[in-house]
């Protein structure tokens, strides 16, 4: 209820300052299996861009960073005052930066966010808090599992974009590469902090990675 009220409350506030309009999108009725045709485009960043692919990439990445944010929030809620608190806080701050960057990209490319955001909000927090309740090593194991999933996912996106044309997507590629490196770093930090010594490490890791795959699949489409 709180989430819904907050959503409605903020939804109709004053319009924020306008950014540059990015392209007109009058669409011809979409034929079966067809591509929506642009009547007129006016801005360079949307010219010649493979809209469906970019849509998916930005939507799922945004959802991923949002979820990662919530996971770290959950972990901090439980382990904030422990010895690994500062480490988790630092990783959380980096995720916040990532999310901000994807917010900007989302507005720039006019991508819609996934409907499941409220769900990832809760699920992420629960996962973070739950893994933290298993102890510091449990939290680190969760971090390792999630960050490994995310790095693999970013790698496959980089491959896709490079296949499409590295020149067209230079900025996006740069961003994703940078973020992939950050996530790898988080993964290594997790390992450094004895993630592998966590209770039922392999089971936990497999379960979390399965969940991540499902989340990625759903967020790309819905």
């Amino acid at each position: 209820m709180e989430v819904a009220a907050a959503a409605v409350r903020r939804s109709l506030g004053q319009g924020r300052p306008l950014r540059c309009g990015l392209g007109l999108r009058g669409r011809w009725p979409v034929p079966a299996g067809g591509v929506s045709l642009r009547r007129c485009s006016t801005r360079g960043s949307l010219e010649g861009v493979n809209r469906p692919v970019i849509d998916r990439i930005i939507r799922v990445d945004h959802a991923g960073e949002y979820g990662a944010n919530r996971i770290y929030a959950g972990q901090m809620a439980v382990l904030g005052r422990s010895s690994v608190g500062p480490v988790i806080q630092q990783m959380w701050n980096q995720e916040k930066d990532h999310l901000k960057k994807f917010d900007e990209l989302m507005v720039a490319y006019r991508v819609r966010p996934t409907v499941l955001l409220p769900f990832w909000n809760v699920a992420g927090f629960v996962l973070g808090a739950g893994s933290a309740l298993l102890g510091k090593k449990g939290a680190m194991a969760c971090t390792v599992a999630v960050e490994e999933s995310i790095s693999d996912h970013y790698n496959s996106q980089i491959r896709t974009l490079v296949e499409e044309g590295p020149e067209k997507y230079k900025e996006l590629l740069q961003v994703i590469k940078q973020f992939r490196d950050d996530e790898r770093e988080h993964h290594d930090i997790g390992l450094e902090h004895d993630a592998e010594a966590a209770p039922a490490y392999s089971v936990l890791k497999t379960a979390i990675q399965l969940g991540c795959k499902a989340a990625i699949f759903l967020s790309e489409r819905i």
């Binding site: 907050a6 319009g15 300052p17 011809w28 929506s36 009547r39």
Partner: protein, 351 residues
């Protein structure tokens, strides 16, 4: 060599005839519109008075270049790329099928007030372009494509209008409008485009709701609403994105329906209705705010009551009664402002 060409030509003509016959089965709609249109329009051009020779030869090469085409006809194909790149032999004013359809539908629009959204209007439109009335056979018999074309055109016009306004604001030549006024103006501008066709629009709406049209019409509606919010400055990246668009879609649809049965001069009633709905939409945010803070206040009040009661140190029955009393007091206090308002209203006829 010549024999082979002749055989290919004959084969092409036979296939053309077969495809034409298939193309008549509009209801089945197995061929994708551009593909079907290609065949039918090729025949139409032969029938019409203009430029018989080049078209016959151009249609020939098209058949030759797709010898295996009749195989995949069963599967719906996506829109083909324009056929203007075929060996440099096409005539100079050859246009793609889509462009031709575009022109016919645009020309047909002026006949809509008279004939409605029907094949007759399309036929009339084709006549003004010098094509045969059989051109209407390129399209669905229920006029769906004409309506969708019109809606798409209106959306494009709206986008251009909003883009222009935005440019003016960026150049500092115009004031930036507050959100509610922006939405009101955008929706009004879009609905005003319906005015020339308002008598036949209810028919169009019902056709747009046919199952086979719903994907396209929904697509057009959502992209229009998205455009309006984009130019209104919406930069939400959370669930608000959906809330705002859903609300505006509701406002637009209800205003459109009101407009259908509005008989006031220049649709004043409709614009007043629109103003009220947009104001409601803006208020929704405030109301949600109030509900949440009320909920929090009630919760805190009850917690306070519980603490008081637990410190009271009396018997269980008395404690329960005390708790009940305090919670009722707490809740009734919330309704005091409303009470004040309603009492004032009752007494207003005295003062």
């Amino acid at each position: 060599m010549a024999a082979a060409a002749a055989a290919a030509a004959a084969g092409g003509l036979r296939r053309a005839g077969w495809r034409l016959w298939r193309g008549r089965a509009v209801v089945q709609c197995q061929l994708s519109p551009p593909q079907r249109a290609l065949q039918v329009s090729a025949v139409l051009r032969r029938v019409s008075d203009e430029q018989k020779e080049p078209f016959v030869s151009s249609s020939q090469q098209q058949f030759d270049s797709h010898p295996t085409d009749h195989q995949p006809e069963q599967e719906p194909q996506g829109p083909r790329p324009s056929y203007t790149g075929q060996g440099g032999q096409e005539s100079e004013d050859y246009e793609s099928e889509e462009q031709l359809q575009h022109r016919i539908l645009t020309a047909a629009l002026e006949f809509v007030p008279e004939h409605g959204w029907t094949a007759e209007a399309i036929a009339e439109g084709a006549k003004t372009l010098g094509l045969s009335v059989a051109a209407a056979g390129m399209f669905h018999s229920d006029g769906s494509e004409l309506i969708l074309h019109f809606v798409s055109q209106c959306n494009t016009k709206l986008s251009e209008l909003l883009e222009q306004e935005q440019k003016l604001v960026q150049l500092g030549e115009a004031e930036k409008k507050p959100t509610d006024q922006f939405l009101r103006d955008a929706v009004q501008a879009r609905l005003r485009m319906l005015i020339p066709y308002i008598d036949k629009w209810p028919q169009a709406l019902s056709i747009l709701l046919l199952p086979h049209n719903i994907p396209s019409s929904l697509n057009l509606l959502t992209s229009m609403i998205d455009d309006i919010w984009h130019y209104a400055g919406d930069q939400s990246t959370d669930f608000n994105w959906y809330t705002r668009r859903a609300v505006l879609t509701g406002v637009y649809n209800t205003t459109e329906l009101v407009m259908m049965q509005d008989s006031s001069p220049d649709f004043e009633d409709t614009w007043r209705f629109l103003e009220n709905r947009v104001a409601d939409a803006m208020n929704m945010g405030n109301t949600a705010n109030q509900v949440q803070s009320t909920g929090e206040a009630v919760f805190q009040g009850l917690m306070g009551a519980a603490v008081t009661v637990s410190n009271a140190g009396t018997s269980r029955a008395v404690r329960a009664e005390l708790f009940l009393f305090l919670s009722m007091l707490n809740v009734s206090v919330l309704f005091l402002p409303n009470l004040e308002d309603s009492v004032k209203k009752e007494l207003s006829f005295i003062t």
